[in-house]
Amino acid sequence: MKNVLFVAVVVLLLGAGAYAAFFIAPTDAKQGLIYRILFLHVASAWTGLTAFFISFIANVLYVWRRQPQWDWLGVSAAETGLVFTTVVLVTGPIWAHPVWGIWWTWDARLTSTFVLWLLYVSYLLLRTLIEEPDRRALLSALFGIFAFVDVPLVFGSIRWWRTQHPQPIIMGEPGSGLDPLMYKVLFFMWFAMLALMTLLLRQRYLLEAMRGDVETMRRQWEVA
């Protein structure tokens, strides 16, 4: 019952976020309607990086404490972050095509984000290659810590290098930024996305915990 209520709240928040993005935020003078992808694209990017940060903390805690719960949280947050980053990589080109005239370019932000996506795909693939649970947890935690090194690169890429992707709208240079109403809608959408991330992460964690139980039962069954 609690889960159904949580799903309903998340759906309502996302619906309200989409309504605000389409009907409340003012239209951009230069880009017109298409800029409204920003609310999904940027909110997904911030949420994905938040999930990768949770995965990083869980991986560090696993290496330190060696408790399976941290491994479960690490992989759950990594997979959830990967889904949000996939949305970023799909919505970005849809936005870029009418504005830049190209779907994709190998600029610093796009490339570092794509590398981040590949690193976390590799993290998940690595886990499928190792049978023994403790060894799998340790190696993937170490790889997860390494993969997170790309996150500061993604964050700094539009600050350190001036390429195709627009300059930052938060903590950017003087004069950069958005209309105050656009900021409100963007932060509301981020809040809705964080609620969605919490829902997905919780479900994924429960799934991983269940998988841990199955592995324990199998080992007990083999010993018996």
């Binding site: 017109g32 309607l33 992808i37 997905l200 018996a224």
Partner: protein
């Protein structure tokens, strides 16, 4: 109303990716529940 189709497509694909992920988790959870039941039953039969 220029680019309305692209805007609509971006939101539909975005929500679709989240929805498909949620569905795959539900399917994986159901498969694991079945696996747990199967292991419990085979253990009970072995006793």
């Amino acid at each position: 109303m220029k680019n309305l189709d692209s805007l609509f497509a971006a939101y539909m694909i975005g929500w679709g990716i989240f929805f498909v992920f949620y569905l795959t988790m539900a399917r994986r959870t159901a498969a694991l529940r079945e696996e747990i039941e199967r292991l419990k039953n085979s253990r009970n039969r072995g006793k």
